[in-house]
Amino acid sequence: MKSLLIKGTKSTPTVVLDPTNDRYVFAGNSLPENAAEFFEPVIQWLRTNSEGLPPGRNFIFRLSYFSTSSMKAFYMVLNLIREASLMQGKAHTISWQIEDDDEFMSEAAENFEELLGMSLERVQLTAEQATEESKKIERYVDAALAA
């Protein structure tokens, strides 16, 4: 199964869908001018591969901000993960990482839970922890793309 790695920018998130190393991460800002275009390969990867993933994978969402068009795309992403979980009978988990009691991200998690009927595990991070985690994933993507 081929991995999908997208290096983040100031306006687009880092995306790691890497079954080889069992890493699944969405991180950073998500304010692309065209969300449909940006997320198309992500949605396509999940449609093609999510049912073939081993059960019980952990998907990490550590987002700083997203626009409403990205919110729609994340809804589609979460729904595909939910559907794959239902097919396999063993849920993948969603770690929804929230920096410094971010009310915006907490409310987004509540909205997604209500709309999708699935629970997101809230993980509180300090600003320092969030920065460190972001650096780690940037290094990971850089190394993977360079390989």
Binding site: N29, L31, E33, A36, T68, S69, K72, A73, Y75, D102
Partner: protein, 160 residues
């Protein structure tokens, strides 16, 4: 009474949009502090900028973010094709007619329909702005020489 005005007039690229977002977040934090959720307020401006970038026909905008006491006013002006200008006006008028429960229902319905517009929009921006500002969105359009339209939208929200 505390007052701050952040204005930008010129080309709107993705880079400018992100820089403006960072700037108004910093201005809001300095002026509002913990009084309310700064990210939610900035979301109003971000959605207006997002929309303007998607539909602006000449690449230029005029943007204002004004804080005066407990009132935040966000304004944006841009040029757009007639079809896009009319659609913006109709969308805002439709949103302004909705009550709070209708807004919530329309937002949910639009969020979950799995469809994007031809320019990658989700059709959620004005619904989200209305929910966050808890008031009507003001909008005007007028024809310009050459066939395009001038568009203005303005959102006021009370922070108290």
């Amino acid at each position: 009474m505390e007052k701050s005005l952040t204005q930008y007039q010129g080309a709107l690229s993705s880079e400018v949009r992100i820089q403006l977002t960072d700037l108004i977040q910093a201005v809001a934090l300095a002026n509002i502090g913990k009084r309310t959720n700064v990210k939610k307020l900035c979301a109003i401006a971000i959605e207006l900028l997002d929309n303007a970038q998607r539909y602006c026909s000449n690449g230029n905008i005029r943007f204002e973010w004004q804080l005066q006491g407990d009132l935040l006013v966000v304004r944006i002006e841009n040029q757009a094709a007639e079809r896009d200008a009319q659609r913006m006006l109709e969308s805002i008028q439709a949103v302004n007619r909705m009550g709070p429960e209708e807004l919530v229902e329309a937002f949910r319905s639009q969020l979950t329909n799995g469809k994007f517009g031809e320019k990658g929009g989700a059709g959620l921006g004005f619904l989200d702005i209305a929910r966050k500002s808890k008031g009507p969105i003001s909008a005007d359009i007028a024809p310009l020489p050459g066939g395009d339209y001038w568009c203005r939208s303005e959102v006021s929200t009370n922070l108290a």
